[in-house]
Symmetry: C2
Subunit: 627 residues, 2 copies
Amino acid sequence: MTERILGPAHPTSAATAILRPLFLGAVTFTPDSLLGGWQDRNATRTLPHCVDQLDAAGALDNLRRVTGEVEAARRNMWFADSDVYKTLEAAAWQLGRTPDDAELRAFLDTTAALVAKAQGEDGYLNSYFAVDKPELRWRELHWSHELYCAGHLIQAAVAAARAGVGAQLVTVARRFADLIVERFSTVDDVDGHPEIETALAELYRVTGHRPYLELARRFLDLRGRGLIDGERFGPRYLQDHVPVRDADEVAGHVVRQLYLLAGVVDVAVETRDEQLLDAARRVWADAFGTKTYLTGAQGSRHRDEAFGDPHELPPDRAYGETCAAIASFQANWRLLLATGERKYADEMERALYNVIAGSTALDGTHFFYSNPLHLRTGHDGSHEDAPSQRLPWYSCACCPPNFARLVASLSGYVATTDQGGLQVHLYTAGTLRTTVDGADVHLVTRTEYPWDGRIELTVTTDAALVLALRIPGWASGALVDGEPADVRDGYAEVRRDWSAGVTVTLDLPMPARIVRPHPRIDAVRGCVAVTRGPLVYCLEQADLPEGVTLEDVRIDPAARFAEGRLPDVPVTLTARGSVEPPASDELYGAGARAPGEPVELTAIPYFLWGNRTPGPMRVWIPVATTE
Amino acid sequence: MTERILGPAHPTSAATAILRPLFLGAVTFTPDSLLGGWQDRNATRTLPHCVDQLDAAGALDNLRRVTGEVEAARRNMWFADSDVYKTLEAAAWQLGRTPDDAELRAFLDTTAALVAKAQGEDGYLNSYFAVDKPELRWRELHWSHELYCAGHLIQAAVAAARAGVGAQLVTVARRFADLIVERFSTVDDVDGHPEIETALAELYRVTGHRPYLELARRFLDLRGRGLIDGERFGPRYLQDHVPVRDADEVAGHVVRQLYLLAGVVDVAVETRDEQLLDAARRVWADAFGTKTYLTGAQGSRHRDEAFGDPHELPPDRAYGETCAAIASFQANWRLLLATGERKYADEMERALYNVIAGSTALDGTHFFYSNPLHLRTGHDGSHEDAPSQRLPWYSCACCPPNFARLVASLSGYVATTDQGGLQVHLYTAGTLRTTVDGADVHLVTRTEYPWDGRIELTVTTDAALVLALRIPGWASGALVDGEPADVRDGYAEVRRDWSAGVTVTLDLPMPARIVRPHPRIDAVRGCVAVTRGPLVYCLEQADLPEGVTLEDVRIDPAARFAEGRLPDVPVTLTARGSVEPPASDELYGAGARAPGEPVELTAIPYFLWGNRTPGPMRVWIPVATTE
């Protein structure tokens, strides 16, 4: 039953798409794999924590103010309804996997009923504008987030519809969507925060109701025409400075830009609009060619939570919002389906194992909002969005439930099919059942990935299946059954007679790898980073001898790394480095430095940082011989 | 007559002070000197421009709304009254120098009359709260800027009182100050934006009325006790996280911190409070030891216009607000008077010739708000506070009139006296007349400083004068009359029989000098800067051959520089460098680089950047041999 559930961003059969997603239930992660562990933690810790926090922080009470159940003052952001909707979406995906979770189902049903009760007679639904600013309804879309909240409601309903739960939520969302279609199909107005575009396209996919798709396209085409009041932040912040079809760079607020990009791809493939898809490819090339951190994080500026100039990538002031990385993962998935190109899967993996994974503590109940690559010695940590350690919740709580909805639906993102083929993009221990050309395909994967690069895939099928295995951009010397992989466009294609079951062994060598930045990234000049497989590593103050300041550590790029382990860290990387304390306090002068003293450097995966004592951390490490 | 005018920040004779300021009119700059040129441009271009803009941008109309002369909607920031007051202060200092400027006097008198008319019967004066938010008067000091605006009114009145102009302004300010004393001497409340502290101390200096000084001290001592609502920005932003006497670092919004520092020093010296002065020294050491740019700019973060963590000094995202540099100059002057230590004069010079000078275009009517040390290739320039070129005015127009009031009073900051001595801190061609121990002292200075390091000082006096000449921290090999200078605590002391007039020649050698950053300043690792004398130099795209991208330029720190000139640039520095375009577009990889092609690099003084075609600029230049 659950095997037939569609996952997120599932194009219709009429859409332009090189690759097709599997059913959500087609893939099961082995519980003790890394991804399986995340899904389990998400179900038992993160999702219940989000549910609790919706109550504690007032997001549910805001809706209860609409129904008259609560009379207290409104709390939290004016768009906090979206926290509720994202949690509902996470619950729906989770119930698609574990339909017997009675507590979660009760949350979903109770909350859907509350949302239904809070909906106006005409279908309007927004706890802030309904109660506090009824006179401003639809009137100040540049900041109101009304359609943004509607988009998240719709996405929750899409998940509920696909998972076959929360029917009431689907009714509510459709009523609201119909009102939106009625209101906006003739008025030239657009929301300052994109989200409605991808949501309407997905709702079209679920319902087949074409006006949703048409309105999504209309919203895209109205953007970039100066219709949005940009007085406070300017049109670039809102992606309103250039028509979507003409854009050739990402700009402004990162989450807005990337949610918009998801909508652009959704509409492009459903309307078979090559011009629109080309625009998506162009802005992607700008984002991932000049404005993305090594961890996959995006957003170089705290001010405006924005993309910076090309190659402006400061590690300490990386904003790298968690939501932005999730949006990046989702947009890359859409481009992967549309084009079949490996680079999009590479970026999904980079973001997933580094910035997204690092956003959440090992306990599953503490979260980063911003994900820097360097926490400086002396960091004040006073800003909520630049804390020294993960926090249990935020006044703007967009990130934690976003993480929950992604992880609950993660099995939808690992593999695809096309005619005659099964493509594996993300490797994890687990099982996969699907059909290719009408024939059942069964795949069992055994691997310790991402800790080890050996991946054993046992395929059983009567189909003349082409098994396409992604060879990540970071991998060199990949072997298939001990022979150098024959890599075409990023994938090793394996053809066998699978009928009796065949095990294919893929080896992706994972030595410690030194990475250098593009020379135009001024902020990390003279530094290198240590990576291993898909994982970016970092140094933490916690692993340095007492008295050594992290900023004074230097690395020899030719040093040899030894693998080890620490509690909760399956693979550490240790090498000899040096400490070069400043020879003087002079801020600007001759820059004389004391000779380096040797020190042992132990790096841990970036995504595990900040799980011990809070303290300085850095990904980019200065090279010993640098000026 | 004008020779007897006191300048800004003039302590009483009872104050703790190692050095004493001269009268404002004691010093006259030679018109064709750099500083003389600035003063002339300020009088003929900048000040009239500010006066025009006060009208055009609505700041005067806001006051006319209070008097009923204008009924239109309010325009501009809620604290725009302060723009009017700073311009009045500039006008007062300027009239102290050129009392016959009828047009400027008319502006001063008319505007003082308007301000007087806008004042409430009880003395209250604020165009925003009086008209738009009367119910909030004094109730939301964390954002209201009411005492901040009052502070600037008082400073304008102090200037008017000292310059002997605008008597009406003095009456208005005292009435308001008396109301403030009445209201705040018993209520535990503090303004979120410091300014009132230094203003009240200065008003005490002019009037001798001790309650002003006592309230200034009270405001200082109430800070850091959590009395200010810090919900939006947090207490560090407001310098409310720690009592002023316990602070050992600068924090938060830079301009607030530095105006506060000025008030701390003023109150410390007038109340002879060593503990308070020690606190000022400690936060100064933090600011200038770890949080100041090579140009003297401060403020590493656009977000919150704030100081960053120690050594967080990104050149491209330097906020470096013009007002912050002016505040730094003023605070350093106060510390110089209090302690006599050269380091404060060094920082005055650094800020004056680099960030402050660079804030204003050669035409005197265009201004930077933010003063970065690197304008990246591809900079979007869309933000008002990070434009690619200077703008004629800003919606928050704090900087231009701040520049005007500083330049109009600049002659007050160049020299001091103590018992038996005259100290020259800032060198410029001009004349100086003062008395030391009752004897007249006459000094004529001939120099091309800062373009040339030869300074000829002809002193005539009957006093047994010790002439103390500041030897800047950047200078090595200084000569006095051809002999190595005998430098004590940063000053060369010259004793002569001056009665017949003696010319002393000071030579401060000014070769091009390569400066390296402290190794903990990650953002400019592997780079050097070129300086000459007090001037920081920079490269501009405009001086590179076509097709060469500024980010690809490399420098050899051992290269020899040739001096040249360009239109409006008296001294350029030219050396051989190289261009190393990236070998690949890969953002993270092996970092391979193409071999460098030689290129001729011409550097110009930073303060002159952006006066030709708008385009990329950088102060810190990567070294050719860097990783």
